[in-house]
Amino acid sequence: MTGLPLRSRWRDSAISSISWKIISLLVTVAVTFLGLLFITFMISRLIPVDPVLAAVGDRASKSTYDKMYLEMGLDKPLWQQFLLYVQSILSGNLGNSFLSKRPVVEDLRRAFPATLELATVSIIIGTVLGIPLGILSAVKSGKLVDQVVRVVGLIGYSVPIFWLGLVGLLVFYARLGWVEGPGRIDISYEYSVSPSTGLLLLDSAMQGQWDAFRNVFSHIILPASLLGYYSLAYISRMTRSFMLTELGQEYITTARVKGVPEWRIIWVHALRNAAVPLVTVVALSYASLLEGSVLTETVFSWPGLGQYLTNSLQVADMNAVLGGTLLIGAIFVCLNLLSDLLYNLLDPRVRRRVALR
């Protein structure tokens, strides 16, 4: 239509489509964050607790109360209050915790490494076991092994994780004595490891404290296995369905006809293609571990985000509850975004388009 050579016109449209994609992705994330803030804001308005009274205490005089009322901007219309709320959150102020008397941000910073460590060990267990199990049940589709893997997965979907935690503690800690009980580390080791990353496995290993490392490992293995089982159920199921799709493709038949050994077809040809959507699945189940951790941490007295959230809930410490909710929501959104980006990066069809720029 225009005088431009065909190639460059095509290239222009490719560039614009990619930058358009990035822009729309960023807008989506920004809007989602705003939405998260709006939901937590509305929840904080829903509570039947007078926020001024909570801040000044019930023995404050009328003038102090009125001053605080104006200071908190409660006389302004709701949308202005929301803007003030967003402003204070963006400047890193989540308010003070009523329970710990510290800023919520600081509390969250303390609790986060514990949850991160637990979730990471869990996702490693879930992935390392889940992917081979999924492949196995795809290869032996319809056979006994497949049925067993399927039922094992369904049990993982159906069992209440907090109950499994209690039963696990009963069997492996109280009866068999194979693992350590609740908590992250025994009190006798607590001060021998100086916190640098907050991840105790990493800290104790870097400082060469192998006794402490063994203790920490023995504490984490049970909750991490239970959470890992939870993600194993999801990962193995998705692996199975991706592998079944790939194994039915024509390039697999071609490879078979060419005489490629079966293990190579499965582990190299098919798995490489199934790996792209699997990355998304692993990222998503990493995010859902945050959710599972709320209940698991309560059972195991694990001093992470989940326990912080539930402890704050018990005493209606709303700043802490909303802060924790917001942090977990934000991590969730980030992991979703990350899985989206990874998917685009790893898929050769998308990558080629980027490379052609």
Partner: protein
């Protein structure tokens, strides 16, 4: 012609025959799946137990026995699941608890499904900026981990089973909205919708009278698949003390109640947990089977 032949005929003579025939074929397909039948059996058993709870339970679920003699008894013939720290028979409490579980599942489905349908069909049918706004809101709700959002809602509304149900419903509608929107998009431009529109039907009438019924079946399957998750979330809220309040025999709250005795009196926490597990496994097995039957794409 036998009933079976009438149902399986290739040339149904009426709409009713065709519909019944299809239902019968689906039932045959479901019957071939042993695991799905087990699931169906569990769900039917749950419903029956909930209905006939007063006949099945040997003791009162709330009033306990003699506190001096009947506390924390191990399972026996008199008390199949043992007794708890208030000398209440755990077996009877588990039986009555099925009513609460069933109530949660039904109410959540009754609240969340219409919201999802309304949002999804409206977004899909009207399109344009309405679609963008509604789907953005849906995505925001999807971006939150469900349990955590429900926790925050219950924290704001106050603990209790009604609020727990509301909180779970508020967090469960987004997937239904997405599904309803996708279904609406497939029928929106079909000829029969255009015909109704040309007859002068309003958007609201088309949406409720003609689009929604078509989306209903796939949304219902999805809700069935979600029921295990709903049960687990409700139990989790109960466990944290935010769902049903004592002395209601809610399974999650019962587990929390027995937590202190887990080492020595294991049955107090274990028995209600088994009940939750069996029921959600039942819903999962049934949902899996239903999906295989109703969604031929997934079967391959």
């Amino acid at each position: 012609m036998s009933d079976r032949e009438w149902l399986l005929t290739e040339q149904p003579a009426s709409r009713r025959q065709a519909r019944l025939g299809q239902a019968y074929r689906r039932w045959l397909a479901l019957r071939r799946n042993g695991l799905a039948l087990v699931g169906l059996g569990i769900v039917v058993a749950l419903i029956l137990v909930a209905i006939f709870a007063p006949l099945l339970a040997p003791y009162d679920p709330i009033a306990g026995g003699d506190l001096r003699l009947d506390r924390l008894l191990p399972p026996s013939w008199a008390h199949p699941f043992g007794t708890d720290d208030l000398a209440r028979d755990i077996f009877s409490r588990v039986i009555y608890g099925s009513r609460l579980t069933l109530m949660v599942v039904i109410l959540v489905a009754l609240i969340a499904t219409p919201i999802g349908l309304l949002v999804g069909t409206t977004a899909g049918y009207l399109g344009g900026w309405v679609d963008v706004v509604l789907m953005r809101i849906t995505d925001i709700f999807l971006a939150f981990p469900r349990l955590v959002l429900a926790l925050a809602f219950v924290a704001a509304l106050g603990p209790g089973i009604e609020n727990a149900i509301l909180a779970i419903a508020v967090t469960s509608w987004p997937p239904y909205a997405r599904l309803a929107r996708a279904e609406t998009l497939t029928v929106r431009d079909s000829d029969f919708i255009s015909a109704i529109r040309l007859q002068g039907a309003s958007s609201a009438r088309i949406l409720w009278g003609h689009v929604t019924p078509l989306c209903l079946s796939s949304v219902i399957v999805r809700v069935t698949l979600d029921m295990a998750g709903i049960i687990l979330t409700a139990a989790g809220l109960g466990f944290l003390g935010l769902g049903a309040q004592p002395p209601l025999p809610e399974w999650g709250a019962m587990i929390a109640g027995g937590r202190r005795f887990i080492i020595d009196q294991w049955w107090v926490s274990t028995m209600p947990g088994v009940a939750i597990f069996v029921v959600s496994l039942g819903f999962n097995l049934l949902g899996d089977g239903l999906r295989d039957v109703l969604d031929p794409k997934a079967r391959k």
